[in-house]
Symmetry: D2
Subunit: 157 residues, 4 copies
């Protein structure tokens, strides 16, 4: 009975202008470009951020740094929230909590952000981060997050 809360809820179709605003916002995040992250999936209530494993994002053991894992989880879930906010609104992370479950090793990390509960001023989200190794996904982190919606505060390019 709870499955439809696990990220695949039926959300309204994504307004193309909202999708463009999400993409434009991501493109302005220089920190995402610094770590070489991309955002290949933007759907209504679901956003994926992908990160190739390269030396610049490693911690001392050669895995992807937990803080970098948190970064892509934070952004994926925040943008998933933004897909459900009204046109012209922007979003802010109020807080997030992330559990690390396995070392982030693999050729690519995928942070999959989904919306648990949309609200007018606050949106509760989740991100799962998977390490992809030889085509096999394994869960390496789980994040739960609170997002604030700033109405009529579109980001300025």
């Amino acid at each position: 009975m709870s499955q439809h809360f696990s990220g695949q809820a039926a959300h309204p179709a994504l307004d193309v202008r909202v999708a463009e605003a999400v993409q434009a916002s991501f493109d302005r995040q220089q920190a995402m470009s610094l770590i070489r992250a991309s955002m290949p999936v933007v759907q209504s209530g679901l956003v994926e951020i992908h990160l190739p494993h390269w030396s610049g994002v490693q911690q001392q053991h050669g895995f992807v740094h937990g803080g970098v894992v948190g970064m892509i989880a934070d952004s994926a879930a925040g943008y998933a929230a933004m897909t459900l906010a009204p046109l012209g609104a922007s979003v802010l992370s109020v807080e997030y909590k992330v559990n690390f479950m396995a070392p982030a090793q693999g050729q690519v990390l995928i942070a999959r952000g989904t919306v648990l509960r949309p609200g007018r001023s606050l949106i509760v989200t989740r991100a799962e981060v998977f390490a992809v190794r030889d085509g096999q996904e394994s869960l390496c982190a789980m994040m739960q997050q609170t997002i604030m919606v700033m109405h009529e505060r579109a980001e300025k390019p």
Copy 2:
């Protein structure tokens, strides 16, 4: 009565070999060098990571990315825990939770990690992140974290 839990507990003096192991571990974190973070303070139960504000770590509004704030908080608190772990042990983040309180704007961010409760296998820590603007510190984020101690698993250079 609670003040001595707020990060300034009297911890045993820092073994110089532990301090060196902390520094060597930090130096191996390429992600810290990518974002241009440094670690100027390593004391018993207290570590500071400093981050200059530069374009590469910004989000879409020109502030430091919340994920980057989380990254330096995670590392500062993790290394604060490592200063209290036995020589030859390494530390892992089990989880952390961070609240963002104000936009991270200023010339420098300081993440100050402290130990709330040292334990043999788990250490509970905190990090406060301050933005320094014209010499004035303002609190921009607060993190609470659980660290696991891996005994007799020194990091290999």
Copy 3:
């Protein structure tokens, strides 16, 4: 692709002696009896705790107190972890984080605890809390938790 991490993973069959140890532990929790909670579902990696809505567990608006919601979430997820721990082990909550999504109103609350990642010493879990109103479930809270396994420390009756 992520669905099998959302709580319905295939876990090994539940040892009847572990099931009995879980039930005996629950029965010793006087706080569960104080709030009139019951535990009608104990499966491998999945435990439900049910709470009737009665005046004693209310907060100031007449809904179930958020702390009580956290209590049944904490216990449901902790016992879900215990179903996957070896016989003779006990479990402890290291920490949990809970988001409240809607007022807890209805005739019954159901806290459904599942295991996100079983480990030898640490287990990461989740609990979803639903309010049941006229047979309709609605999600009112979501919790993410870290559990420590204490090996060979069976609880004493």
Copy 4:
């Protein structure tokens, strides 16, 4: 430099009508009376909830149930936030995260809620929970919380 964020910030003097509204709200929380909690300290930005150790709040090992510890922490920090909200506003827990650091054993538990950052719509708080044993306080849990302020929605008696 960070000390004034650790709970002892200088807040404006407490309006007596706000203090009365906090007390009236607490008195309406039947769940607090069920567990026998009291609220002997209500100051500007600081609230204490005390809980005697009695059999009804125990878990299976005879300590106070972690969920009950979370309950008094949640309420203490929420009411600390309410002391800084305008007259006529009520407060809601958006989320909280609690780390358990030591078994809650002693004659009395004290949850001390403080405000880390007051805001117009969101307030970030903390609660420390101490077990008092023979007059000696020891820290047993630490909570970090987000509170939403509902303006002009005074609670109805």
